[in-house]
């Protein structure tokens, strides 16, 4: 392929923020008529590279060439006029303006956007509705349609299918392919390996701010990408860890660590009942918006429910505040770690936080005892603290571990994990699942929701499926393959099973 068909080329780009080096030598070559994946663990420099390409930051070194000409963008607007447009996970739509006003704000033609929305399957959308009154997936599509309306030569999609239901993701895949057919290029960023393998013609892998390889679509390219992302040694270790099968627990007797009975909360939770036993990992599978988030929040005490009861070790709980749940030994690891962490404070303060809940703990701190507790939690979770003691220096995966470390340090019976591995690199993902199994083996009860169905089998002993705000299926992990889960998650009856 000649140089002329290179729509975008990144050569040796470097970027640092104060003393943190985000990129050392990033390289990227995107040809016309291809879908090009951009892969890398959290902290590898992907998002910095994207921001440099789209004009949010200026590079410290290196070059960017668009269609062979060296360019340097000072704003997203400049990048857009050069034919480079990006769509992020959070729709770039102002909530208090209408759709039409948002289009006007960005200088997008309403008719063109309408046309592309139709291609994406959204017809007859009232543009005079306030953005904040529209459902989230619709906003994603509007954002994408707006990007398409400016006919970019290079379309950059950053985690665009995250938290989207399957049918919408399919439409986006179709659009991506369509865009490629028109001779343009799409840079596709995603943590879902299956997507990347399916869509991308080639993929560039970043590690520690450096481009470490470019793979072509081929059989086995997934493993090659993972190996490149992790570095050879770590990849081997991770592979070894993940090949240990989840140990199947014998049927439990004795009291449930957590029991939910008839939980109802309009509009999404209708009648949820299940039991969770000590020593087991219970997986929750569900499509978007089936009430799983509300369920977890209710059990954790941060949302009220209308009817029903929650029991911990047989005792009914009155949950008005997370403190009540925590006192009953129920703790939550939320999906969005930004919600749970103190970005400006140190790792130690983050881990020690729950200790100061009661007024009697407002007095002088026993520093030595605290240090011991905190250090042992850090060691247990193998949190990589080389970058410093400030929390924000840690990678996403390590930050998520800090959330878990917090509960390890303060003690719990029941751990609620809501999509704990969302947006985390593969190596850390596996570590977290191994940890979850260890915690269960040590006697804790774990309730685990993950948006990636294959991972239920990796970590859980049993699984329940949530649909329409109800538990519609329950099965041991041996039956919880992706197809079965998916069927139940859509409200379909599971396939007939052989009678055991």
């Amino acid at each position: 392929m000649g140089e002329a068909s290179l729509l975008l080329e990144v050569r040796d780009v470097a970027k640092r923020f104060d003393s943190v080096v985000a990129l050392k030598a990033a390289a990227l070559q995107v040809r016309a008529g291809e879908v090009h994946g951009l892969m890398g663990s959290n902290g590898a420099g992907k998002s910095t590279l994207v921001k440099i390409i789209t004009g949010v930051f200026r590079a410290d070194g290196g070059q960017i060439l668009v269609k062979g000409a060296t360019r340097s963008f000072r704003s997203p607007a400049e990048a857009r006029s050069a034919g480079i447009v990006s769509v992020y996970q959070d729709p770039a739509l102002v909530p208090d303006l209408t759709v039409a006003q948002n289009m006007r704000l960005a200088g997008a033609s309403v008719d063109a956007v309408r046309k592309w929305l139709a291609e994406l399957g959204v017809v007859r959308l009232d543009f005079s509705i306030l953005v904040r009154d529209l459902p989230y997936p619709t906003l994603r599509l509007i954002d994408l349609a707006r990007a398409l309306a400016s006919e970019p030569a290079v379309l950059l999609l950053d985690e665009i299918t995250a938290s989207l239901p399957a049918d919408l993701s399919e439409r986006i895949y179709a659009m991506v392919r369509h865009w490629r057919e028109r001779g343009n290029a799409v840079i596709f960023i995603s943590h879902r390996m299956a997507e990347v393998a399916d869509l991308c013609d080639r993929a560039t892998v970043l590690r520690d701010g450096v481009t470490v390889g470019v793979t072509e679509r081929a059989h086995g390219s997934e493993e090659r990408i993972v190996a490149l992302m992790l570095g050879a040694e770590t990849a081997r270790a991770v592979a070894a860890a993940s090949s240990t099968p989840a140990s199947f627990r014998a049927p439990r007797d004795g009291q449930a660590a957590l029991e939910v009975r008839g939980l109802r909360r309009s509009p999404l939770l209708n009648d949820v009942s299940f039991k969770l036993y000590p020593g087991e990992v219970l997986g929750v599978a569900a499509l978007e918006g089936q009430g799983q988030e509300e369920l977890f929040d209710c059990i954790a005490g941060s949302r009220r429910y209308d009817e029903g009861a929650i029991f911990a070790h047989g005792k009914e709980l009155r949950l008005r505040h997370p403190a009540d749940a925590i006192r009953a030994g129920i703790v939550l690891v939320p999906a969005n770690r930004l919600l749970a962490l103190l970005q400006q404070r140190s790792i130690r303060e983050n881990i020690a936080l729950p200790a100061f809940g009661g007024i009697r703990n407002w007095g002088p701190i026993g520093m030595r005892a605290e240090r011991t507790r905190v250090d042992s939690a850090i060691a247990r979770l193998q949190i990589d603290t080389r970058a410093g003691s400030e929390l924000r220096r840690l990678s996403g995966g390590n930050q998520q571990k800090v959330v878990i470390a917090r509960w390890l340090a303060s003690g719990f019976n029941t751990l609620l994990c809501f999509d704990p591995t969302r947006g985390i690199d593969i190596g850390t993902k596996r570590q977290i699942y191994v940890l979850v199994r260890e915690l269960a083996a040590a006697g804790s009860a774990v309730l685990l929701f993950t948006s990636e169905l294959p991972e239920i089998a990796l970590a859980c002993d049993r699984a329940i499926v949530l649909f329409g705000g109800r538990v519609v299926a329950e099965m041991p992990v041996s039956e919880a393959d992706e197809a079965t889960l998916l069927r139940s998650a859509h409200g379909l009856a599971p396939q007939a099973r052989a009678v055991s």
Partner: protein, 330 residues
């Protein structure tokens, strides 16, 4: 092993470059602030040789103490991401009410003054902590309310004229041992206590945590409203205390006694390194900030310029300092 050693070394090398000195300064802002203070002091001595001596220094501390005490409360509040615009009114009201009750004797009249701080602090706390009103608006309102009530009160109290008791005058203007200001006896323990609370107690940790991310605190089982409520009460009490010191150093208890202190109380905290968004900072920097502003004020007084010019210069320099500080730490 070698990988770990490599990483530690790579942290050291950049420090030795010029860039490194800047980032060292950034992380040791206290040193930078003290250097700035020293620069101001040196500037005064250079402009008017002989000015800087023990008497001058003790006067600086004397004048800085009330500001330091108000700014202590403001520091606590700004650490949680809030602000208290009612501190000036509370200080004035506390001084006035104390003065009009001075006939009751030493302790009772002081208690009356402090009671003002308690009441206003509670109102602020209820509004901000329980009803989630924005601190700016809430304290603005209570400040107006307090000021207005004071005006009405002062007109009704024509009979009982305000009188500043001797021991308050001693506190606000006197010195002992030939030069140490009396109000330092009040400021120093407060300062030590506040620094200890911020660094070594659960309450201090909570202030930083709430200022950084109050949602995260709730999820971790903290009842945030308790912390905020107590905090605003403490801030108002500190303002009330400062009012007693201010009136000791002033000629009379008039109705705009502490008006001047509002802007410097916020400025001292910002210059001292506490972010207005919360989660970061401390009181040590505020102390130096208060000293810097006091010295600055005295420089401007020495200049013999008319009042308005001094006002403009004061404001402009605060802007410069705050801007420099914000740029350095971003």
């Amino acid at each position: 092993m070698t990988e770990r050693a490599k990483t530690t070394f790579s942290h050291v090398a950049p420090v030795l470059s010029g860039r490194g000195v800047m980032s060292l300064l950034r992380s040791q802002t206290l040193i930078a602030l003290i250097l700035l203070l020293a620069a101001f002091v040196a500037g005064i001595e250079a402009a008017r040789p002989g000015t800087v001596n023990a008497l001058w220094a003790s006067n600086m501390v004397l004048f800085a103490a009330p500001l330091g005490i108000i700014a202590a409360g403001q520091t606590l509040v700004m650490l949680t991401g809030g602000i208290d615009l009612s501190v000036a009114s509370v200080a004035t009201a506390s001084a006035y009410i104390m003065a009009t009750h001075s006939g009751l004797g030493g302790l009772p009249c002081v208690l009356y003054g402090l009671a003002v701080g308690l009441v206003v602090g509670l109102i602020n706390g209820v509004g901000i902590a329980l009803l989630r009103v924005q601190p700016l608006v809430m304290t603005l309102g209570t400040g107006l309310m307090t000021e207005g009530m004071l005006v009405v009160y002062s007109q009704k109290m024509m009979a009982d004229a305000p009188h500043v008791p001797k021991f308050i005058e001693d506190l606000g203007a006197g010195k002992f041992l030939g030069g140490i200001p009396n109000d330092l006896l009040l400021w120093a323990p407060i300062a030590i206590l506040i620094i200890f609370v911020l660094r070594r107690t659960g309450y201090g940790r909570l202030l930083y945590a709430v200022g950084d991310n109050s949602e995260a605190c709730t999820l971790a089982g903290i009842r945030v409203w308790r912390v905020l409520l107590v905090n605003y009460v403490i801030c108002s009490l500190l303002a009330a205390t400062a009012g007693l010191v201010i009136v000791g150093g002033a000629d009379t208890a008039d109705l705009s006694l502490a008006d001047f202190y509002l802007l410097p109380s916020v400025a001292a905290v910002i210059i001292g390194g506490t972010s207005i968004f919360g989660g970061r900072g401390g009181y040590a920097g505020t102390i130096v900030g208060a000293l810097i502003l006091t010295v600055l004020n005295s420089i401007l007084t020495l200049l013999d310029a008319p009042e308005p010019i001094r006002q403009i210069l004061y404001g402009a320099i605060i802007l410069l300092l705050a801007a420099a500080y914000t740029r350095l730490t971003d």
